[in-house]
Symmetry: C2
Subunit: 337 residues, 2 copies
């Protein structure tokens, strides 16, 4: 996900008025498109957390997804949906120094569409390497969001937004479909929130198939973009740039689509502090033997605050959003744990 500010879309107000919402039909179409293209990742029961919280805790391990995050679902769905609608962009482009960039590189490569990813000057080397390894052209520099937009205009390329795109939201929503298909009953479904694409898709899936499931979004205090949008009555930039160790969640503002999805389908939004994220990150890896990025641990951090109502003996699913981390940071975080 990008870590720089994106200019507010000129027709944001217009879209906000219409505020289209992903439907069950959209989700089922997305699931059909993704069959055989993304993994139905394991839904892992976690004994240690189940004992700790007195309920059945299961983990949707999207860190085991292609490219190591759920992002490949949204991107793949968007590329295929555009194609179905007769769009034939000669190439795809985006702005991202993280999982969305890698996902676009991967999905474009699989579909034979050239891709270019604009990344900020401070992008970390392993993530840039991953984007390149998946076959995209990487262009690094200041004003990378504007540069991507200019590139799209100049080349007739499809500019694929990391989260504020209905097809992307629909693709992320298949995480929710997978969970609801695998489990007969889910009391609480907890998802990390950056720009809100994952939460929006999951909320749409629960609204369509399991309205009794409580949908909980979790943001770092240091990147509380969605809470800020709700407080402000609409998506707007945070007063200060987001700065969470959960780098995948450092979206500078919520999207217009995602804001309206969240308002409609999210039952609770929880904020967690950096120290809570760090401890949850280390403990979750120890408990699961999964390699995770910090963003994937905010759900556990939220459970630990005690703010999320969990029915005794109930079923709680945490979405582990991704596993792209570097081992040195992980070791450093564990030393003080």
């Amino acid at each position: 996900m990008q870590t720089d500010a994106t200019p507010v879309d000129i027709d944001a107000m217009e879209r906000a008025t219409r505020s289209p919402i992903v439907t069950e039909q959209d989700l089922r179409a997305a699931a059909a498109r993704l069959t055989g293209r993304v993994l139905d990742t394991p839904l892992l029961p976690c004994e240690e957390l189940s004992l700790a919280f007195g309920c059945q805790v299961l983990l949707k391990a999207e860190n085991l997804q292609h490219t190591g995050s759920f992002k490949v679902r949204g991107v793949t769905n968007a590329l295929l949906a555009r194609r179905e609608r007769g769009e034939r962009p000669p190439q795809a482009v985006t702005f991202s120094a993280g999982n969305h960039g890698a996902a676009l590189a991967y999905a474009s490569g699989r579909l034979g569409i050239p891709a270019t990813v604009f990344v900020p000057p401070n992008a970390v080397a392993p993530k840039v390497d991953a984007i390149r390894r998946y076959g995209a052209t990487v262009i690094q520099g200041e004003d990378f969001v504007a540069a991507a937009q200019q590139f799209a205009e100049d080349n007739g390329a499809l500019l694929l937004h990391p989260f504020d795109d209905l097809d992307v939201i629909g693709g992320q929503g298949t995480v929710g479909l997978d969970v609801l298909r695998a489990l007969p009953w889910v009391d609480v479904l907890i998802a990390p929130v950056g720009g809100g694409g994952l939460l929006s898709g999951i909320g749409a899936a629960c609204a369509a198939l399991s309205p009794s499931t409580r949908v909980v979004g979790v943001e770092p205090v240091a990147a509380r973009t969605l809470a800020h949008a709700v407080a402000s009555g609409g998506p707007t930039s945070l007063p200060a740039a987001p700065s969470s160790m959960a780098d995948g969640l450092n979206a500078p503002f919520a999207g217009t689509y995602t804001y309206h999805h969240a308002l409609r389908h999210t039952h609770q939004l929880v904020q967690v502090a950096e120290e809570e994220i760090r401890l949850a990150w280390i403990d979750l890896q120890r408990a699961t033997r999964l390699l995770l990025e910090p963003s994937a641990a905010v759900g556990l951090a939220a459970l630990r605050t005690g703010e999320v109502a969990v029915p005794t003996g109930g079923v709680v699913v945490l979405v582990l959003s991704g596993g792209n981390t570097d081992l040195a940071s992980l070791a450093a975080a564990s030393r003080t744990a």
Copy 2:
């Protein structure tokens, strides 16, 4: 797995003559006992390795098993099989500073049998903590193998060997059953070798259900106990204590049962060097987003030597034996990768 020398069993010769082998019936009985007690862990396709080796590489993720290793299968099967045979030991005991000790602690706790685990003076704190957390009594000291044997005699406790036990081998063999049930065809199945319990069980499963599957065992050069046994015509101590970074494989000698299982059912035994293990360990975690212990990576290291014949387009399964590692060692190993 214990890292100290165990005295040779007095009736080793007698057992060697009989050399009983785990049968399909034993394996199916083990599978029935373990249903609902251990996880059928995910069998994960790995795109990156599949592309690298020109075949379909899948990973049996036993790091996601209860207690973080396959060991809980063998221990659980042994405790239940003994009970079925009318044995009612008041308690269980073993010698292990690693995954076997944690597995016995866990399984005994679940079955309501008090357990004591003797560990060596140099046992690492996190592993000892895990054994305690699972509810066993830990006794640390020199001569921990002899002490465990004495304890068993004094208390009428069941002494559960880490690998040289037919029920333990039968339980580990359910890893093979799981794999063969999930995949219609497996060309090569690769397992790490310490004392040989996992390899023995998997070999028995393939012999029973899929004789065309090549069973490959992999040992560190620094802990080549099974190769040494084969060269010596029987299980015998290594000239020097095993010293691999793959600490789970540092068995000082192969078992009598495991030696005979290996002779009968293993198609190839490969040795890998420490540097090959280190690189495979880091790369495998990056490629899979799984937290693994070094022992789990010897299969990839073996594939990379080129010594394992892999049919183009064929199906290769690597058993990832466990995920109990400490993050500091992992970071240290990655820095020089």
